[in-house]
């Protein structure tokens, strides 16, 4: 039941002849073309009438650009075959400099037109959009909402046609101008072209040059992109929030472990005594505490000295001695506290307490040897008949030590010594918590730097130091 009106395959339009130079003008678009450019003399011709009419005389040779994808090349993209049938370059001018980009018209006789844009090695595959994006303002800047995503305004400028080649399904000539705006949501871009008659929207997807070269079987390789393009996907996309998420998880784990240690530490106070020392005291200033038991596991101990010092200092020589084994921990702590009022207000320096951490104190029977010193303390003579620990220089009383000069001022300190065993320390956890911060901060900085480079070419460049 075939009707004679069913047509044979659509034939390619026959080549016509340029009214300017007589050279052949080929058609690839099966009758869709409204404008065609003579490849010989570069005249822009009106293809909508039976005879080609000149729209614009030959473009001058100086403005000739060579497309990276030759006219007539076919490539497979987005599941369909396309033929490159039209090429143009357009530019925007800013501060006397023209920034030019390339546009390639891809044609498929069933699916219509798509475009490839190229700027400094950055490619986009562009599809016309038939619905109307919703205009919004975000953060004081224009934006559009489309297909569930917010596209932010990147730039708007008058785009001027610089060079045309091949054929187009619309009327175009060199020096045509149209208001072009780009809204970005990397890796996509929504572009609008506004004339007095209508607004046309299209959506671009950032594409790697290598994919273009592969699709169109172009020789060589794609030129390297320069700079960061407006919808170029960030290599840090999602990584920043993800690494902060992992950071929080790890910090939480750290807190749990630290709390665990805190719970498991016995934090046992084994000594808590109050003493007094004065430089006026005669006799041996050093003394030993009563012995005490340290039980449990080998763990860190903490010695805390609280004093009543005000505008004074005291030094405590300390030794935690294991009565049974003779092992000792030998250390000293200075406590100094000064306070006053000056032109800036009141000030303090130092503190009235001091702490020492004694590592790996094994359980056993211990006592503490304490020797306080303050200003005016005189070193008492060493009683010779005592065996001193091996390795110490022999203690011979010096002439200076024999003298007892009169103290200038009597210094007294009341102090309390507390010794705790199996104390939790959080220093390592704080350090780990801090070190964990470094990679996400690093990531954030790098991502911000990338976005800074992206937006530096926009209408909204980030200000220095902003």
């Amino acid at each position: 039941m075939s009707s004679p009106l069913v047509a044979p395959p659509v034939a390619k339009a026959k080549a016509m002849y340029c009214p300017n130079c007589g050279g052949p003008v080929e058609f690839r678009g099966f009758g869709h073309a409204l404008t065609v450019v003579c490849p010989q003399c570069l005249s822009v011709l009106d293809a909508s009438s039976p005879l080609l009419k000149i729209v614009q005389d030959a473009q001058d040779a100086a403005s000739r650009r060579t497309p990276q994808i030759p006219l007539g090349t076919r490539g497979k993209f987005a599941g369909a075959a396309w033929e490159m049938i039209g090429f143009q370059t357009r530019g925007v001018e800013e501060d006397g400099v023209t920034y030019e980009w390339e546009e390639y018209l891809l044609f498929n006789p069933y699916k219509g037109s798509r475009y490839l844009t190229c700027y400094q090695g950055h490619w986009n595959f562009v599809t016309p959009v038939e619905s109307l994006p919703e205009r919004r303002a975000v953060g004081g800047r224009p934006a559009v909402f489309f297909e569930g995503n917010l596209y932010r305004h990147f730039s708007g400028a008058m785009a001027r046609t610089v060079f045309v080649l091949g054929e187009f399904p619309w009327r175009v000539k060199v020096a045509d101008e149209v208001q072009a705006d780009d809204f970005v949501h990397p890796p996509s871009v929504l572009s609008s072209e506004t004339t007095s008659d209508e607004v046309t929207w299209s959506k671009g997807e950032y594409t790697a040059g290598a994919d273009i070269w592969k699709a169109f079987a172009l020789p060589g390789s794609a030129p390297r992109p320069q700079g960061v393009y407006l919808n170029q996907p960030s290599p840090f996309a999602g990584k920043v929030s993800g690494s902060w998420g992992l950071f929080l998880l790890m910090e939480f784990a750290l807190i749990v472990i630290a709390i665990g240690f805190g719970i498991l530490s016995r934090n046992e106070t084994v000594l808590d005594e109050h003493y007094k020392y004065s430089t006026a005291d005669r006799g041996e200033p050093s003394f030993v505490t009563k012995p005490f038991e340290i039980t449990g596991r080998t763990a860190n101990a903490e010695l805390i000295i609280h004093t009543n010092l005000i505008n004074n200092w005291a030094y405590f020589n300390l030794a935690l001695i294991n009565e049974t084994t003779g092992d000792a921990f030998d250390f000293g702590r200075e406590v100094s506290y000064y306070t006053g009022v000056d032109s800036d207000g009141s000030w303090t320096e130092g503190g009235q307490s001091s702490t020492a951490t004694i590592p790996h104190v094994a359980p056993g029977r211990y006592y503490l040897r304490v020797e306080p010193e303050m200003e005016g303390s005189v070193e008492p003579p060493v009683t010779p008949a005592t065996a001193v620990p091996a390795g110490t220089p022999s203690a011979t009383p010096s002439a200076a030590a024999q003298r007892r000069p009169p103290p200038v001022k009597v210094n007294t300190v009341y102090y309390e010594i507390i010794l705790k065993h199996d104390v939790p320390g959080y220093g390592w956890f704080w350090l780990a918590a801090l070190l964990l911060l470094i990679p996400p901060i690093f990531s954030t900085i790098r991502s911000a730097a990338f976005e800074g480079r992206r937006w530096s070419t926009s209408d909204y460049p980030p200000t220095r130091g902003g």
Binding site: F331, I358, P380, S398, F429, A432
Partner: protein, 61 residues
Amino acid sequence: MRYAGYLIYSMMMLTTATWAEYKGWTFSSVNQVKNVPKTVRDNPGAYRSHYAFYPRYVGGK
């Protein structure tokens, strides 16, 4: 895995911190001395801590 590097790094931090706490590592200015004689209990003055840091101690010996 996406954050393999950071994951490994953070696990290292966690295990090192945990191990350090468990083992009680400290930056401590405490010296260990051996063989302190029992007589020090009776005569504390005899014990001389030459290892304790004392900026004003002129240590004339």
